[in-house]
């Protein structure tokens, strides 16, 4: 059982790391700010989400697992709202030109 859980953790964390890599590549290579913003939010949510998912089997107890999930929810909430704000700021920058 623990071997299966370990493999699950490994796969989830590897997938999360991949998303972080994808997000960084997108941040560096995409042509304009809005598409970079799009990539950023995907990496934030999925990357961290998969890492948290992979760490859940290793948490000591349900309370610690809940703490991890709450942390991920918090990051989801804040990065989503901040992405909206950044998008509005970008749109204003375009309009100002």
């Amino acid at each position: 059982m623990t071997l299966a859980l370990d493999i699950f953790s490994l796969l989830a964390i590897a997938a999360g790391a991949f998303f972080f890599l994808a997000g960084t590549v997108a941040l560096l290579r995409f042509p304009d700010s809005l598409s970079r913003l799009h990539a950023l939010t995907k990496a934030d949510n999925l990357g961290l989400g998969l890492v948290v998912l992979g760490l859940l089997p290793r948490a000591d107890g349900p309370l610690a697992a809940m703490k991890l999930v709450i942390l991920w929810g918090l990051v989801q909430l804040s990065s989503g709202a901040v992405a909206q704000m950044i998008g509005a700021a970008l749109r204003r920058r375009e309009a100002a030109r």
């Binding site: 918090l74 909430l77 989503g80 709202a81 901040v82 509005a88």
Partner: protein, 315 residues
Amino acid sequence: MTFYRALDLSLALLVVGIAAWTVLSRDLFGAVVGYVAYGLLLAIVWVRLLAPDVALTEAAIGGGATGVLIIAAGSRLRSMQTSEPGDTANGIQKALAAALSALVAIALAAVMLLLPEPAPTLAPQAAGGLEAAGLGNPVTATLMVYRGFDTMLEKAVLVLAVVGVWSIGPDRFWGGAPAPLGRTRPKRALVFLAQMIAPLGVLIGLHIFWVSADEPGGAFQGGAILAAMWIIVMIARLADPPRVGSRALRLALVSGPAVFVIVALLGPFLGGSFLSYPPGFVKPVILFVEAFMLLSIAAAIPLLIAGPPLRSPRP
């Protein structure tokens, strides 16, 4: 070179690299963004050095509070547009600053590299006193028990800083409120975020303070998180900076150092000397003092960022 060595080396190089960018950057915003990134990387370095309390403080103050402070100051300067040509440092001043910084860095490196093996340390004694203090976290013990005097003075310095910031405002506005932190019609996403994150953040900040007696955490870290939540609420215009003359605000601000001083003065009667805690009650008294420190810090940091009063005291 093992993997861990390589990781440490790349982390160190990253920190130096981003520090160089911050110093060399030409515009204020870019430099402050670099500075925030520097703070975040340093927080991770502290975790690598097994110091989560310091990491949290670094993220709070270096990554959050001072970055926001500098940006707010920069916006105010830009809107005033009072800088004149010749205000930036000339070549000689820059060379002097660079030389002094390099000297400090070399001195620190030399001290670190020339330390005898094993390096002299007070850690065993610090850990040995924990049981008498009834605490589990050696950082809290150091801050509140062994060096309580320094911590008390630091809180007083915070209050003085706030008074200094307030005194920058024009005389006719003394007692009034600072300018609002956010725009008149904030984006709905921001308002939603503030409404959701502030209660959760307050809970987390209180948690980090409460566990500080036995686990990593502290009044300062918790207070900085509470401060950040209040600032978010003010940016979303769900609340506005309070009037500088408000009695409740001033009471909250000074309560930290004041309670600390009172406990210190009661020391001779309860514990035997100035700033000694009554034996057997050390942990409750420390938590009591720290609770007021939390309040002071949570009040002081947003006030530093809100700035001097710029509204008339009477509506």
